[in-house]
Amino acid sequence: METNLALVLLLSPFVGFLFNIFFGKKVSRTVSGAIGTFTVVVSFLMSICFFAQLNQNGKAIELSLFDWISVHNFKLDFGILLDQLSLLWLLFVTGIGSLIHLYSISYMHDDEHMHKFFAYLNLFVFFMITLVVGSNLLVMFIGWEGVGLCSYLLIGFWYKNQDYNDAAKKAFIMNRIGDLGFLIGMFILATMFSTLNYSELKHAVAAGDVNTALLGVAALCLFIGATGKSAQLPLYTWLPDAMAGPTPVSALIHAATMVTAGIFMITRMNFVFDLTPEIQNIIAIVGAATALVAASIGLLQNDIKKVLAYSTVSQLGLMFLALGLGAYNVAVFHVITHAFFKACLFLGSGSVIHGLHGEQDMRKMGGLRKAMPITYITMLISTLAISGIFPFAGFWSKDEILMVAFEHNKVLWVVASIASIMTAFYMFRLMYLTFFKDFRGTEEQKHHLHESPSLITIPLIILALLALVGGAINLPGSTWLNHFLEPILVAKHEEHALGSNEYMLMGIALAGALVGIAMAYAKYIKQSFVPKEDAAITGFNKTIYNKYYVDEFYTFLIVTPINGLANFFRTTLEPALGKAVFSLGSAANGLGTQGKKLQNGNIGLYLFVFVIGVCAIITYLFIAQ
């Protein structure tokens, strides 16, 4: 029974994918979208069932579907593990996935390839579920690769634009670099423990007598895998470009779910990372640096989706900071609240873009507050949440990260706090530029301004509500999430007694956010500042606007040399090799042409040659003797 329900949970979106890819064209767009949505809702309902059951009896379910690999002493099942961690992830992946599917029915309705869009989206959900529920690293890897593939397909969904195709390829290749790390880490673990099953690995590691140096290498490799998927330094550059995809894709894949896969994986393998404090340090530093760098780039972006993209990278950095400090439950908490408000923000920006018929530049927006009140209010709630304003969801989760950072390392705390202030600033900059003052677009756009249809606003409202109250799952004092996650984590997380220190930190975080908001208010409301045209940006601002030229640096460091090498092979080596091979051929040909003349049908000549040959052989035999 459990196996069947779990299979329904896993395969339902896959059925949706098959339907949409094979029959999607034959049915109307609404039907195609409805079926795509329905299959994900089914998964969501199954997840709720399992979650309720687990919440009651606290017993994780591990199912083995079939023997997958059995070589010598290495044995691997294709197994499903439904425990606290995977069910949490399932709930928000399928839950937010359902909302975004619903939203897409309206958002993508004018696209002629809508059935393909839903097919890819369903396939993505299927692979994401595979990633989450696998009971060993190899099953997770299948999902890991699968979501990468779907991300590629969806970023390049409007494939007629070459820039979008390039963005898709960039995302795919950047992810491959990380995947290589994942693979190597997996191989090392398999060599060390002859298993990849989580519980067996956990026992093997707990049994002690482990080569910590080798384990550290494995942990580092796994972390490299996570930096690729979760867009951390130095592999983060694909995520902002990934905004080329349709906005629901950005919301689902590149904000709420897929990019949190790295955090999921590290939380899953927490027993490995706990034994390698050096790697944890690296994770914390990389996380904090990413948070700061991405936030600073976000300060000056003018594309509404790019701002959100950099804010995602920055928030992911904060999560990694928490992971690196061993506070896995805090990271998971922030993943969940972030999924709510970031999905809401992306969907809201999608609603704005929809209302403006594809305009993404904030310099050409403004004053949308009156035309799109629901979008405005929901986005405002989410912005308050991401900025960390009491009592929205983001306040609680971000505050916990800052608290953990303060306990462990003051420098990291300062960096994270600065990143948070920047977050508040650029998010309110986005709000002010988009919704306040006067409309700066064309008259025609102004004429057509309207609130989006209810299929778009309903998911927005639900997500905004969640962003409002989502923090309740782990309030200081009633830490439901911490207790829930206890069976997963090896190191026990000590409870905070709410002392004056904690209240002071909360106050500082809140004050920082308010400062950021006030600065944005002063600049964009009081002074009515509108960002300049691209050409007019100078000085350090230009460096930031151009993302610190990281892309150009990578191009210079890696892409250009590879292109040069390829060019060398193409223009020099390949013709040379080709010439060598061709000359062999023509030599044989020439020899044949000459030899052909011998066989001219003159029997006298044949006989003569024959006799000469015999004479020569006889002579040779005489001489040889």
């Binding site: 066989q599 001219n600 049908g601 003159n602 029997i603 006298g604 006989l607 003569f608 006799v611």
Partner: protein
């Protein structure tokens, strides 16, 4: 038998055989008429047969003579086939000049 060999000497048989063989070779090389070429081949064959028989006697061993019987039998069959081919060629081409057989060229 020995008497004959003693009187004449094995080397003369060899000379005769070589001479016959060379005649055959030159006949094959220089004549255009297929029948003469064919006869020349037979001469070469018989030169070898002669050598066989001579050495057979010289070594007091009958095996060489047995071989000659075989080769003569085979040669008889071969002559029959060869002549049949020549007749056929003549019927087709109206001549048996080997230079006219260029149609066989690949």
């Amino acid at each position: 038998m020995n008497n004959i060999l003693n009187q004449i000497g094995i080397e003369n048989y060899i000379f005769l055989s070589v001479l016959l063989f060379c005649i055959g070779v030159f006949g094959v090389l220089y004549r255009r008429n297929a029948i003469i070429v064919f006869m020349s081949i037979e001469i070469m064959l018989n030169a070898v047969n002669l050598l066989f028989v001579a050495f057979s006697t010289y070594h007091q061993d009958a095996e060489g003579q047995v071989f000659v019987f075989f080769s003569m039998a085979v040669a008889a069959a071969e002559v029959a086939v060869g002549l049949a081919i020549l007749v056929s060629v003549y019927r087709n081409l109206g001549s048996i000049d080997i230079d006219n057989l260029k149609n066989l060229k690949g």
